[in-house]
């Protein structure tokens, strides 16, 4: 009895302590900070005010940046699905004996540092980069295309490259779960390959698409490095604002308010997708 209680404590206490120290306390602090303010000497005043949230609501810049972040994240999701879904289908239904190898090939980029991959696109898109050199060599353009780098385009391409595996893996998992006799049964009942895809494969893979899309959207929405390295002023995203408020401006209360806002949006999206997924599961 005593021993089993001891082991129960050993199993539950460390994770709970970990969650308290690294999640609960920081979130509480963040939440508190968002209701504090700065005095004239940049010192934090510890009494509650809605000034930060009011500032966010009345300054159009924040809405612009949030909308831009959503637009970029949404583009990343679309592109990742366009690339990732057919790739997942190919892996599951066509790759045959090469399936494991190709699956590994999808995963391997995840082992390479995010920074290296982001810099790689800098090399590709720069004025003297691979892309511009190639385009000029085949006379598609006479001078380097400037919009390739330091633009939302560069951010979207980089984020897509980074998050495609996050879409492929859950989609592969959901496609693998479809029993092969369902596909046989569909063609047995007179459906051609396209009808089988549209009526059986696609609907049954939607939970995987949803979780992949959620991953890609949330990670892109909160991304900070890609806009910093490849984005330029026209593609500042909301995480860059938070970083600036905490770092350069040293305005922790306002930074905290933006962070709380992002957190609320992320939670709202997660709740929504989970509800959707549960409804599909029930059906």
């Amino acid at each position: 009895m005593g021993r089993s209680r001891l082991s129960a404590w050993l199993v539950t206490v460390p994770p709970l302590a970990w969650i308290a120290a690294f999640l609960f306390v920081p979130y509480c602090l963040l939440f508190c900070y968002s209701f504090w303010s700065l005095d004239a000497n940049q010192q934090v005043l510890h009494h509650g005010t809605f000034a930060n949230y009011l500032h966010l609501a009345t300054t159009p810049l924040y809405l612009t940046v949030i909308l831009r972040s959503m637009r970029i994240a949404f583009s990343v999701v679309l592109l990742s699905l366009v690339i990732g879904y057919p790739l997942a289908c190919f892996l599951v239904f066509q790759a045959g004996k090469y399936r494991r190898m190709l699956y590994q090939a999808v995963i391997i980029p995840l082992w390479i540092s995010y920074l290296v991959r982001a810099y790689a696109w800098k090399v590709i898109f720069g004025n003297e980069g691979v892309m511009n050199t190639l385009l000029q060599w085949c006379h598609a353009t006479s001078h380097p295309l400037g919009f390739l780098l330091y633009s939302p385009f560069a951010v979207i391409v980089t984020l897509t490259h980074i998050y495609v595996p996050f879409v492929v893996l859950p989609v592969v998992a959901s496609l693998e779960k479809i029993p092969p006799e369902l596909l046989e049964s569909s063609s047995d009942l007179g459906a051609n390959a396209w009808q089988t895809f549209a009526r059986v494969i696609l609907p049954l893979s939607l939970p995987g698409v949803l979780s992949g899309a959620t991953f890609a959207f949330l990670l892109s929405f909160g991304d900070f490095l890609a806009p910093l390295l490849l984005g330029g002023p026209s593609s500042v995203m909301i995480a860059n604002i938070v970083a600036n408020l905490f770092g350069a401006d040293y305005n922790w209360p306002l930074g905290a308010a933006v962070a709380v806002l992002i957190l609320a949006m992320v939670l709202a999206i997660l709740t929504l997708t989970q509800k959707l997924e549960r409804r599909w599961r029930a059906a």
């Binding site: 029993p179 006799e181 369902l182 046989e184 049964s185 569909s186 063609s187 047995d188 009942l189 007179g190 459906a191 051609n192 009808q195 009526r199 059986v200 609907p203 049954l204 599909w280 059906a283």
Partner: protein, 341 residues
Amino acid sequence: MSSFLRLEGVGKRFGEHTVLESISLDVEQGEFLTLLGESGSGKTTLLRILAGFEEPTTGRVLLDDQRLDTMPPHRRPIHTVFQSYALFPHMSVFDNVAYGLRVRGCPRGEITSHVQEALAKVRMERFSGHFPKQISGGQKQRVALARALVNRPRLLLLDEPLSALDANLRLEMQRELKLLQRDVGITFIFVTHDQSEALAISDRVVLLHHGKVEQCGAPRTIYSTPRTAYAASFLGKSNLVTGTVRQGVADCGAFSVPVALPDGPVTFSLRPECVVPASDAAGEHVVRFAAEVVAEQFHGADSLLTLRCASGMELSARVAVQGNGGGFAFKAQDLVPLEHE
């Protein structure tokens, strides 16, 4: 010469492994045919060749004199009821049954009436709004049947459809399936490894063994006159009696029987229920022999006796009454000579 469905030398190899060896078979319109065999006998492969999920390595399949084996599965006027039912989990019972009509572009108004009619036929009309995971195994079975029959296929293939059901439901579904088949008049090809199911349900049984047709015939014929020792022991319990023929008489040790066979060794099949106490035997061509009862298993309606003859040969006998120790007997025509394998 044309028949409804004709298989001509259909064979299937997977690499070095031969699954089917040159199967030839004619099936009549409206027939209830069963492919019976153990796992590995090739019965499921044969069914999958008919459905179009496997291509035969050799031979050809004709339906109404038209080549079938070159047609993709979705063009064939053939539907399959799968062992796992293979209902679409994301569709209601109604949508499952409507699937075949929808992919063929049947007008919307007709779909509803056809689906309702098909569901009524399998007594599932109350469940049209349910999803597959909300209904039981037997109900899924019925939906799978309705889903196939609603398209009026020329041929319905059933891949061990009852094997997942419990014993009572199985008997019930066997009866229903047979009635349904009579009602719709569609040719059924039914695959099973259960010999009693095959005998109970079919117009004709094809016994497959190692990818070859071991024997083919009506249930009563195939049961009472097995061609080989394998057929005799797979289709129910049988005594395999060995003996030697000399000048028209087979000497089996415990008894001798006049036969029209050439001289040499011979094996007979003798069904346990054909052996009766000698006191119950009457009429001509009765073979009597002395034996002692060494074991009895009581089954309620009858008992299974293990008999030992003076020659040391053991025989099983299924009898309703034990007899009075006056020995046992059987009719000469029940002793069926088997071909050598």
